[in-house]
Symmetry: none
Subunit: 222 residues, 2 copies
């Protein structure tokens, strides 16, 4: 079931039935991430995970039946990157996988290397990551709340790239979002009201239906 879902989502998926098979796959296919159930038939999942972590930097996400905090701690302690308890929903698992991948491949997703003064300029506006402030083209400071600032920064650091809501949530708050969460939408609306001249026809932050938002301002750093 998992295999099917993630294949459809565009991932390349392999499965292994045993620790040996897993090790074999790792050598051959060099996966980016390993998803494993703690409860393995006839094998110690924890030991296996510890083992893999000892030999590789691959991302590891543990799945477990018991939702004990103990398990969580133990799981993370041995070096798993994240942990999810059954029953879980696929979207949440997917979100966590994306998060781990993002953390693992900094170049793929990271904000531009922070050089100079960490100043992001677009269409006359200046956003300073250091000072956590935004100035409009006339040089006046536009007061942003913490959440608005984080959101704008997350978007403006990745101009031209569509970012889905889960990722935005993760980027601005750390943890994933619930199923029918409109938090990001609301925050985008508030932010637009402050920085767009015509919030109904936004030019800086555009929506991409079914996905998320993009920052479409012309960015130059300085």
């Amino acid at each position: 079931m998992l295999s099917r879902y993630f294949t459809d989502e565009g991932y390349r998926v392999s499965t292994a039935e045993s620790g040996d098979e897993l090790r074999d796959r790792m050598r051959r296919e060099e996966p980016d991430i390993v998803l494993m159930d703690l409860m393995l038939p006839g094998e110690d999942g924890l030991q296996l995970a510890r083992d893999i972590r000892a030999h590789s930097d691959v991302g590891i996400i543990m799945i477990t039946g018991r939702s004990d905090v103990v398990d969580r701690i133990v799981g993370l302690e041995i070096g798993a990157d994240d942990y999810i308890a059954k029953p879980f929903n696929l979207r949440e698992l997917h979100a966590r996988i994306k998060t781990v991948l993002r953390r693992l491949r900094p170049n793929h997703d990271a904000p531009e290397p922070k050089q100079a003064e960490n100043l992001i300029c677009f269409e006359g506006w200046r956003l300073s990551a250091e000072r956590r402030e935004l100035r409009d083209p006339a040089g006046r400071e536009v007061p942003l709340t913490t959440g608005e600032f984080d959101l704008l920064l997350a978007l403006a650091q990745r101009p031209g790239r569509v970012i889905d809501r889960d990722t935005l949530m993760d980027l601005t708050r750390g943890r994933g979002r619930e199923a029918f969460d409109r938090t990001i939408d609301a925050q985008v609306a508030r932010l637009r009201k402050k920085i767009e001249t015509a919030p109904h026809k936004p030019t800086l932050i555009k929506s991409v239906r079914g996905v998320g938002y993009v920052f479409t301002g012309q960015v130059s750093r300085g």
Copy 2:
């Protein structure tokens, strides 16, 4: 039957009756993609596939009789790029082949490397991939919805090339489309209404009966 069909579609097709013959062909002809039935007479299809994958990056699509999820998993697990269960229809197989080819040869089909400003100009219009906006010859912005923009971009990035509906669907939404899906047609109609002066006699996006659509505007990038 397959050979006939794909030859007619303009592909170069070779067939092999055995694993040895396949290996031989691979050396001589360096195919882009291998289509193989899991059920081979007197040979282990899985092992053969694994073997090929070990030596080459060729695209592999597995065909199998049983539609078990198990098979699917096993097929993808050994590194096949896609999988299709009998009975399948040719159009679907063709769509999957195109998808795999597209994935494998990024340069053949990918949007131009994003340089400069990623601006596509045609007949006075300017389409900016970065800003996700379109401006008419007079410089006025023409508001496009997400779907319209994605469609126009997909077409305009490949001027003069006929693109079939499956590919368009794949290009604009990621996953394939159902059999009698008029989605693309509807979207094309909506797009034409916004950018063609005479939507009934389109000059920018033309239909190609039995296939799909072409972008026929004179394109220059800048």
